[in-house]
């Protein structure tokens, strides 16, 4: 029986797009959490982390309610793009986003907070705006930790099953990602397809994780700490 490569291609595309979006959202949220003082800050942090611990079906149910065709968000999306969000491959991106963003926020916040405050003070003292401080100092200093988190987020997005099933469905050739395809293949008794996909996904995950590990070692020699 020939192997259908579409799910693998779709999964990689979904994971890549969701990781890119998660980087944007995650860095923004992490920066706010690390640099701003406001009421409910830790509640926001907890809310961002919630998807990591909720059962996928619970998360999927929420998303179905919030993004469904009858919800305001779903209606606006449909009005803008001419087709519903749910049960499309874009919905699979949303599902993956809820796996990668929390990882990125957590890691990036910790990384931002670990930057020695005297570097930030020095940058401001030398005339840098907050934006330039972020791009030229904070981000380069935390780049590796953030890339490592993005790699983890990518690997995590690749494997989502429950949430994707709930909001994107399992439509072969349209929304069937690798995880769903493997499930289907096993159900249908197509052991060969399942084995090939399992091995490929495991290999990708292994490579991504080893890259992430290598990234977390510090490049700048012994760290200077302020007193």
């Amino acid at each position: 029986m020939p192997i259908d490569w579409f799910p693998l291609w779709l999964s990689l595309r979904v994971a890549a797009i969701s990781t890119a979006l998660a980087l944007g959202i995650g860095l923004g949220l992490a920066w706010i959490l690390a640099n701003r003082q406001f009421r409910g800050k830790e509640i926001l942090d907890a809310a961002v982390t919630l998807p990591l611990v909720l059962p996928p079906t619970v998360l999927g149910y929420y998303l179905l309610v919030v993004l469904g065709r009858n919800s305001p968000v779903g209606k606006i999306y449909e009005w803008l793009f001419g087709e519903p969000l749910v049960f499309s491959w874009q919905a699979a991106v949303v599902a993956a986003l809820f796996h990668s963003t929390p990882l990125l926020v957590k890691s990036a916040r910790a990384a931002f907070e670990s930057v020695d405050r005297s570097y930030e003070r020095a940058a401001r003292n030398l005339g840098a705006t907050e934006l330039r401080l972020f791009w030229r100092v904070t981000l380069p200093l935390t780049r590796r930790a953030i890339l490592a988190a993005a790699a983890l987020g990518f690997a995590r997005s690749l494997g989502d099953f429950g949430v994707t099933l709930m909001i994107a469905g399992n439509i072969p050739g349209r929304t069937q990602t690798v995880a769903l395809a493997i499930y289907d293949a096993v159900e249908a008794g197509n052991g060969q397809a399942a084995r090939v996909l399992v091995i490929i996904i495991s290999a990708i995950a292994l490579i991504v994780l080893s890259v992430a590990n290598r990234l977390t070692s510090s490049p700048y020699g012994p760290r200077q700490t302020a007193l």
């Binding site: 940058a123 401001r124 005339g127 200093l141 020699g221 200077q224 302020a226 007193l227």
Partner: protein, 356 residues
Amino acid sequence: MIQARIRKQYAPGPESAAFSLDVDLKAEAGITVLFGPSGAGKTLTLDCIAGFVRPDEGRILLDDEILFDGVSGVHLPARTRRCGYVFQNYALFPHMTLRQNLEFAVERVPRLERHRKVNEMLEKFHLADVSGRRPYELSGGQKQRCSIARALIGSPRLLLLDEPARGLDAPLRAELYAALRQVRQEFQIPTLLVTHDFEECIELGDEMLVLRDGRVVQSGTPRKVFECPANVDVARLLGVYNLLPVEIRGLDPGRNVSRLRYLDFELTGPYFPGRLIGDRVWLCIRPDVLTVAPKDGRLGTNQMPATLVRAVDKLERVRLEFADDIAVEVLRPAFEKYQSVKNWVIEFPSSGLRIL
């Protein structure tokens, strides 16, 4: 010129006591030293001036510009203040080369001008050969010079140095002092230098402010502070004086003499105006002003018998520590003859006695 009046309160926290800073300072071009023990508020004062910390009240004026004013709520962000700051740990950006660190400070300057400025600073601080290295590849002295160069390259109106000599060994310290003297001469801007090393004050300071518990307790030239500490706290901070609690037993303005009692021994000193008999005061006297001789027979005026506890070697002198908290420093040859002697006589000069 910098003029600052800064008030800042910190409520007691779970791991910190309450602290209040209340300083008034004014500094012209030249080096003004903020001297005091740790926790006196020296660095906090710098941070308020640089704009890292917002004071509760007061006003900070640099040349004619108001950087902070508590009443009107003016609080310029740190980036617009143009105060060069040399951090305690240098705070050189570890991901940039030395040249890039300097360029960061003048990024708004047109390219050609920027290149010229950076090269000029690299030359001036003897860093041209290592300009392509990252901070972790530099020696302590190079990092030190780089952080000073980076603080100065943007032509600041004020230079702030937070314990720049901390953790440097003697040769590097000398190198740093030379660099700072060069800066004082070439840049002609007010420089505030935080330290708790009194020798550094004497060596570099044009003026000094003594801070203690968030207050300025004395100001003046370092020489003057050294010679006339304002009170016993300042004298204690300088760490060079014998401070003996004495009671005034006699005052005679006509003959310009006074009698002081220390333990059960009586000293004769000059008349002290504004004091009364019975006042308990501190006798403040430098260890190198006292003289000693081995005890033999009778005691003269202002001679006090004392038992030697230990002798500590200094560079050219020996510091003799006696019972009753009196220390005397004498030249080495004067002491070596009498190494084994235990019982000594300390002679107080009657003219050099000062009370606080």
